[in-house]
């Protein structure tokens, strides 16, 4: 902890959006009732899609594996409740594309049937055994990217990892799922962190939390003393929770451009992931539920719920007593990086940290007017890019210029579009440019 004292806990750039967390920050996590059916999306991780191992008519138990992993960067999927598989259906995914999902009609008994055995003596177990368990439990990064956790914990031999950082920044406005989890379940998070650190054989652990959650900082500080985990209060600033920015704020190390956190000796895990790791290892529970915030000014009862994977947004909204006035947008995730939905049949996946309903007044309307080169986006870009140039290049389809100005380092945090006075949909421009450049690179590789 002494290493970090006295250093400024922030990065260059960033914005201060209205955080809106007051809507649900005080509401403790509610247990959701059992719904009639769940549609569990098959691919809930970045990487290879897992293969379904159940078919229509199969009886499954809660926690039973229903899809097995097909490669290293892949995680299995488990049944959220007991019941009958009513088929493999196509449902809208969070990104808008239609995705395959296993539909389970609940039998109302919620009978447990996981094959994973609790490991109370995890300290004595082998690293590989812990990692295998994390894989078997289907744990992925629950902050948003859904990167399989066991892959993150298996760095190549030549990388020297010495720092574990837990991400409790939750810099996305409106979302409070991690915040409530830190207040209500500090022990699970801290123990989960120890398990992860143990499997990597490192002893430097820090939890970065934004200063707008003083209650969480206090509770975690009280508990962390026994574990040797340092709590780092961070300056309130978006995107404080982005991996590279968090590492820089906490350790002042810079992840090389185009590199991974392991390139500077760090591993970053979300606090919810740490809690899930604890459940998987100590209790033998696979990842079948997560805390999700349902919030927004037009939600009748905003709050945080523990939802089973595969719950539809429609069911989740009904839990929050529906909406008051007609919201303009429904967003999976936070307002800065979340995805606007055109259907309410989208389901909760391992990385759904929130469902946000925005009023028309709160929503930004893009007008795509001319860039007046105000340099606002250049000032706020946390990746130190020039979004104005990139966006103009993308509009003119000059993707080579975009590539030369490092568009591939963009993480789509949305700071540029947030401050743009001409209301240009910058993130859309940059995403298009990134997609085109990736396609070009792939084509070149295949040649």
């Amino acid at each position: 902890m002494s290493e970090n004292q006295g250093k400024r806990k922030y990065f260059r750039g960033g914005v201060h959006p209205h955080d809106g967390k007051a809507l649900s920050a005080k509401n403790s996590i509610n247990e959701a009732p059992l719904f009639d059916k769940y549609q569990v999306v098959l691919q809930q991780n970045i990487g290879a899609p897992p293969k379904a191992i159940v078919k229509k008519g199969d009886v499954v138990l809660k926690g039973q594996m229903i899809a097995e992993s097909t490669g290293f960067v892949c995680t299995p999927v488990h049944a959220p409740t007991s019941g009958v598989v009513s088929g493999i259906v196509e449902i809208p995914g969070a990104m808008g594309q239609s995705v395959k999902a296993i539909e389970i009609a609940s039998d109302g008994e919620d009978k447990w049937g996981s094959s994973l055995k609790p490991m109370k003596d995890w300290e004595q177990r082998d690293d590989s055994e812990i990692k295998q368990r994390i894989h078997d439990a289907g744990i992925v990064g629950m902050g948003g990217a859904a990167f399989p956790t066991h892959v993150k914990l298996s760095p190549p031999e030549n990388k020297n990892i010495d720092y574990l950082i837990l991400n409790g920044a939750e810099c996305e406005p409106y979302l409070t799922a991690d915040h409530r989890l830190m207040i209500e379940d500090p022990e699970r998070i801290l123990k989960g962190a120890l398990i992860i650190a143990n499997s990597l054989n490192i002893n430097k652990i820090a939890i970065g939390i934004e200063k707008n959650k003083p209650d969480a900082i206090k509770i975690l500080k009280k508990h962390s003393a026994d574990y040797g985990i340092s709590i780092v209060p961070l300056r309130m600033m978006y995107p404080q929770g982005a991996e590279k920015q968090l590492i820089y704020s906490v350790t002042k190390r810079k992840v090389p451009a185009g590199g991974l956190p392991m390139d500077c000796g760090c591993v970053v895990q979300n606090v919810a992931t740490a809690a899930a790791v604890y459940d998987a290892v100590v209790k033998g529970q696979p990842l079948i539920e997560r805390v999700t915030t349902i919030t927004g000014n037009s939600v009748v009862n905003p709050g945080n719920w523990r939802l089973k994977l595969g719950t539809t947004a429609l069911d989740a909204l009904k839990l929050a007593s529906g909406v008051k006035n007609n919201p303009a947008k429904i967003i999976m995730g936070g307002p800065m990086m979340g995805f606007a939905q055109k259907s309410l049949m989208v389901t909760i996946t391992k990385n759904s940290s929130g469902i946000l309903l925005l009023d028309k007044e709160d929503t930004s309307i893009y007008e795509s007017r001319q860039c007046i080169n105000c340099k606002g986006c250049v000032d706020v870009c946390p990746m130190n890019l020039t979004p104005s140039v990139l966006s103009k290049a993308a509009v003119k389809e000059n993707f080579d210029i975009a590539e030369r100005f490092n568009v591939m380092d963009c993480m789509e945090c949305g700071c540029c579009a947030y401050v743009c006075p001409s209301r240009r949909p910058m993130v859309q421009h940059l995403r298009l440019a990134k997609g085109k450049i990736l396609a070009k690179r792939r084509a070149q590789q295949n040649k």
């Binding site: 590199g259 995805f339 930004s364 250049v378």
Partner: protein, 464 residues
């Protein structure tokens, strides 16, 4: 709360009413009109100073420039607006040409007739051509005031028509008029104000009109409108006018204050003729020279600069009590504007500081190396002429300055170097507008060389 309400099925949004768009879904509320409004606010002290020193003659120039710029912008973006505005002038012009033509044709026919038949000219044709000539003289000699008032009324009429059409379109959910958007974003108003700041008080209205044309049409719209212009529109107009109408652009009026403080040595420097000075009543009665022009003259003669750098003189320069453009004289007002701009984060403080600093350094160095001073000292150069106006409002223009902070600094230093070179060794007493325009042209290159390195950038060559 009654029981019925609770038992009701909770309301959920309808799927076809959901808006989809790219993230982020929130915005900080900043907008182009807000930026333009704040810049105009920052200009307010300088405008106030100009109006204070020159009274109505400054105010009219300001009004002409703003109105003509807005009209030009609206005409460029809406053909309907341009039609409404131009129609009466086209009719007027056609009438003039027609009457003159009838006069000439009549004369020609009669001349041919007379020479061919050696008879008396045809009376009917003669009287017709006479009438045409009379009509033409009447048309052509419409008083200036009438023309101005008529054009102002036409602009107002065209605007009203545009607003009515816009309301109709909005009700019909159609795309609204480009002209109104342009006026609402305030950039034309700002360009007009900046143009007026760069003109002398008492500039005739038609110079303002030509200036507005140069600024909006040549400087901005031919490049694609707001955001696409490589050069600062107000400066394009100023330089265009300066080259085209040099005498009008370098006719400076003394301030009202200068008339009151009659017998100081300082004032005598600026007035060539004492008798005119003593008999003059208002500022429009005679002209004066700017301190920079006087300095240039003194430098050419190899004379001493000391009368220009007395304490009273400096105080006058600081407050703006000297000849010059409407907006450039009062250093105090411009500095207040700079504070406003920096406070609202509209400009980076580096740009004016590096610009002014470079000029100060070059001027000081130029005076150090030499037997005697070639130019007055740095403070004189900072306070007089358009340096502060240029450094605070022109070089910081968002559209025409580089994209990165480093680029902006390079840009500012370049401006400073060129300005001081033109001022000390160049043919013109003032060089701010030229230097900024030249640096504007270099912006794409500066952008290319000062491209930012992304967060965590590792030099690949250094590693290998």
């Amino acid at each position: 709360m009654n029981v019925e309400n609770i038992e009701k099925e909770p309301l959920v949004p309808k799927e076809n009413q959901l808006m989809i768009s790219s993230s982020p879904h929130v915005h900080n509320g900043n907008s182009v009109p807000r930026i333009m409004g704040l810049v105009i606010l920052a200009l307010a002290p300088a405008i106030g100073a100009g109006v204070y020193f020159w009274g109505m003659s400054a105010l009219t120039v300001l009004l002409y420039c703003v109105i003509f710029c807005v009209a030009m912008e609206a005409s460029c973006l809406s053909w309907r607006f341009a039609k409404t505005l131009l129609a009466p002038f086209v009719i007027y012009g056609t009438l003039c040409v027609l009457t003159k033509a009838i006069f000439f044709i009549g004369r020609f026919i009669n001349m041919g007739y007379v020479s061919a038949t050696s008879k008396e000219p045809i009376a009917f044709i003669d009287s017709l051509s006479e009438m045409s000539q009379n009509l033409f003289t009447k048309l052509f000699s419409i008083p200036e005031v009438v023309v101005i008032i008529f054009s102002l009324v036409m602009i107002a009429l065209a605007l009203t028509l545009e607003i009515i059409k816009d309301k109709k379109d909005r009700l019909a959910n159609k795309e609204c008029s480009g002209a109104l958007i342009a006026i609402k974003d305030g950039s034309a108003i700002l360009t007009g104000l900046l143009l007026a700041m760069n003109l002398a008080a008492g500039t005739p209205w038609w110079i303002c009109l030509v200036g507005a044309f140069l600024a909006i049409v040549i400087g901005k719209q031919v490049f694609g409108g707001i955001g696409n212009n490589p050069f600062n529109p107000a400066l394009v107009a100023r330089v265009g006018l300066f080259i085209g109408f040099a005498s009008y652009l370098s006719t400076w009026r003394p301030t009202t204050l200068m008339l009151k403080t009659s017998d100081s040595i300082y004032n005598k420097l600026f007035f060539n003729n004492d008798t005119v000075y003593n008999s003059a009543k208002t500022v429009m009665d005679f002209t004066t020279a700017t301190p920079l022009a006087v300095a240039k003259e003194l430098a050419d003669k190899g004379a001493d600069f000391s009368p220009l750098t007395t304490k009273t003189a400096y105080l006058n320069y600081f407050l703006g009590n000297m000849g010059g453009c409407i907006g450039e004289t009062s250093a105090l007002a411009l500095l207040i504007g700079a504070v406003i701009l920096i406070w609202f984060k509209l400009i980076k403080w580096e740009v004016p500081v590096y610009f002014v600093g470079t000029v100060a350094v070059v001027v000081t160095l130029a005076n150090l190396f030499g037997n005697k001073p070639v130019t007055p000292n740095a403070l004189f150069h900072i306070l007089t002429g358009g340096l502060l106006l240029g450094a605070i409002f022109m070089a910081t223009d968002m559209v025409t300055s580089p994209s990165t902070k480093l680029g902006c600094i390079v840009f500012a230093i370049g401006c400073g170097l060129l300005t001081s070179v033109i001022r000390i060794w160049g043919g013109y007493p003032e060089g701010v507008s030229f230097s900024i325009l030249i640096m504007n042209a270099l912006v794409p290159m500066i952008n290319n060389f000062t491209a930012k390195k992304p967060f965590g950038y590792v030099n690949v060559k250094a590693e290998a």
